[in-house]
Symmetry: C2
Subunit: 411 residues, 2 copies
């Protein structure tokens, strides 16, 4: 017997039939003798509709009111899920964020969880009732409703699991788990049965949109095992059909590389012949920061004569124009010969906790790409991650080649 938290995302509760299907998963866990808490997202499309209402009323709206409005989506699903469980003969009730309560700070629309006073909630779970908590929402100490930001329901679920000292948090979604790379691009991509928190964090922030980064950080902090699995297959969480995100000291796969992430969402800016003097980097990145532009990769190379330098960095495609304008406005202050903006690039990242102990991972990558005639524009590395920028047209070729050479292909 285990205490489980089951979280169902927007597509998993997208309509009445899907809510009933999700309730069947919950029932199956209960019938196996488990104690179960459920966390639900809004039915897909509902949150966007509510956000649309807010924007139509007023372009600059009060985030407190925005949260009061959009939190209703999860409230509806929680009530419907409790009913669907009751219909199956399962004792169940819904809990809104303020009813638990899930306490947050006052940063409306991106609130941080302070704590969950789950004593009453836990008591009822232990007495055999299924508690269905509305995800994505909390309450401030002056009783205003907050939301946790996009994808916040994953974070709600992991936080509730930690507060309940649950044995596992199952995140039901529309994919079967975490793959070695994007299966739509590489047909030989393989579903991972396990992955460490650290690897998942790198993959989540690098574009494998399976779990929200904050939820993985929280899972890692509380050492809470999290399983990503599909709502649309027959197996339930206790069969472990998905990918378990867990500690690295449990038996892991032996490959140096666990997965390869890819994003086409970044664009590259190069400043040519920047005068190589103190304060230049500060001028470049300070002005971008003040304009609210997030910078990802940064590399700087010196020129032969030591008088000028070249600075290259990436921003999200949507911010490329704004970043370019900001730097053109600062041209006199920074002093560069030319600004080159390119949005036809892809970022590919090898991720693996095994890199720590395997030498030559990067060398293999560079050789493989060189053989295929793929030029590497930018390189950035961390302890368990090597990321490169290449021309977008080579994305599929690079992904397939790397996936094979690191032994990730499905047999």
């Amino acid at each position: 017997m285990a205490l489980l938290v089951l979280k169902f995302g927007g597509t998993s509760v997208g309509d009445i039939e899907r809510i009933k299907n999700a309730a069947a998963k919950v029932e199956a866990e209960v019938r196996r003798g488990n104690k179960v808490a459920v966390v639900v997202s809004a039915m897909s499309g509902v949150t966007d509709q509510l956000i649309g209402y807010c924007r139509a009323i007023s372009p600059h709206h009060d985030p407190r009111e925005h949260d009061a409005v959009i939190s209703t989506g999860e409230q509806v699903t929680a009530g419907l899920m409790a009913m669907a469980l009751q219909q199956r003969g399962i004792n169940a009730r819904s809990w809104q964020g303020w009813q638990v309560p899930l306490n947050t700070d006052s940063q409306h629309s991106k609130a941080r969880i302070i704590d969950i006073n789950a004593a009453a909630f836990r008591k009822r779970i232990e007495d055999g009732e299924v508690g269905v908590m509305a995800g994505f929402q909390g309450v401030t100490n002056d009783s205003r409703i907050t939301t946790l930001g996009r994808g916040g329901s994953d974070t709600s679920a992991v936080a509730l699991a930690a507060a309940l000292k649950a044995d596992r948090c199952d995140i039901y979604t529309d994919v079967h788990g975490v793959y070695t790379t994007d299966p739509r691009v590489v047909s030989k991509a393989r579903k991972l049965s396990r992955i460490t928190y650290e690897e998942m964090l790198e993959l989540a922030s690098l574009g494998a949109k399976v779990l929200q980064t904050r939820s993985v950080e929280m899972a890692m902090r509380y050492r809470m095992p999290v399983q990503v699995l599909s709502t649309f297959e027959n197996a339930i969480g206790s069969d472990l059909p998905g990918t378990l995100v867990t500690d690295g000291d449990e038996t892991m796969e032996q490959n140096p590389v666990t997965g390869i992430a890819c994003t086409r969402d970044e664009a590259k800016i190069t400043l040519v012949d920047v005068s190589d003097k103190p304060g230049v980097a500060a001028a470049v990145f300070g002005s971008l920061a003040r304009a609210g532009v997030n910078v990802d990769m940064i590399v700087q190379t010196g020129s032969a004569d030591g008088k000028t330098t070249e600075i290259t960095f990436t921003v999200s495609k949507g911010e490329l124009d704004r970043a370019s304008k900001v730097l053109e406005g600062e041209h006199a202050k920074i002093g560069y010969a030319k600004l080159i903006a390119k949005d036809d690039v892809s970022k590919i990242s090898l991720v693996g906790i095994g890199m720590r102990s395997h030498a030559g991972v990067a060398a293999t990558m560079f050789e493989t790409l060189a053989e295929k005639g793929i030029n590497i524009q930018v390189i950035e590395t961390s302890e368990i991650n090597i990321s490169i920028l290449i021309a977008a047209e080579y994305t599929e070729l690079a992904l397939r080649s790397l996936h094979s050479v690191y032994g990730l292909d499905a047999k």
Copy 2:
């Protein structure tokens, strides 16, 4: 300067543009120096959609979950209204039922208001903030959300007005006020500028669907002046363009009859040749009550020989078949010769506090109808109300004739 509660019904906040229009009314009251609280219904159609979800999940659903789901409609409107007011430069915030709190008993989906702890709410109103309360909802003492039943937002508004000791409660709706009779039937129907609580209660329960009966009862108990007015005309509540429901001791119109209500929603059952012995009426109406059939008018007439009697009564059209079946099942016990069910009838009711002091009101009614050849099937009277049942085909003729004869026609 006055303290006002403004309530906007579902059609008045039916879409984003209408919410903005309603916000303009609120702004106009604030600009005149009034302190304002607002109560809102769900956008029209939203509550029905949510009820549809509940029914689709489970035919016999937990009323606590039902309330958690359907209360979200008003929460959305409250947040959007607060935003729309802020957009106009008005300081405003939304309040859900539990935030005020508006405390109710635990009869979910038809909860009764226990009290409103409006101290914090009132403080902010007095400091110049507009408080926008989600109508139709409250909270139990164990923190579960309740709803007050259909039309409950009117009751929320009057209860809030009473708790705030407001000067007036304006109910913005899609009609211009309370009319002497249905203007769609009688073109000379006139909007009343004032009406007493007692008259409004008779009219509300007799089919003039302007204000919910419970809200009028509450207004009468707290002597709270309530104005019914249209959201879709230019005047605002403080111009008094609608119908003020208020005490009878203020200057009232002089007619013995204030208004004429009409409903085609009732059907008539006559039991012929019932043996005239003790316990027969109890057998008839007891069996109907046990079957949950509501009976409205009841008349009983003796036969010439004193051995049998005739019992006639009305039920709503929707319950006619069920009522007939119940009585057929009790045929042996009751002992009647024949059951005659008719659904082609109309009920017409004269209402007027002036009837108390005017003699001959009923006589005038009977003479008027006799002149037009209209047969009266059933008569029932109370202190300020005379109701009759006639054949449905005479409805318009009867209404127009009576409207004229009691001096109600617009000049």
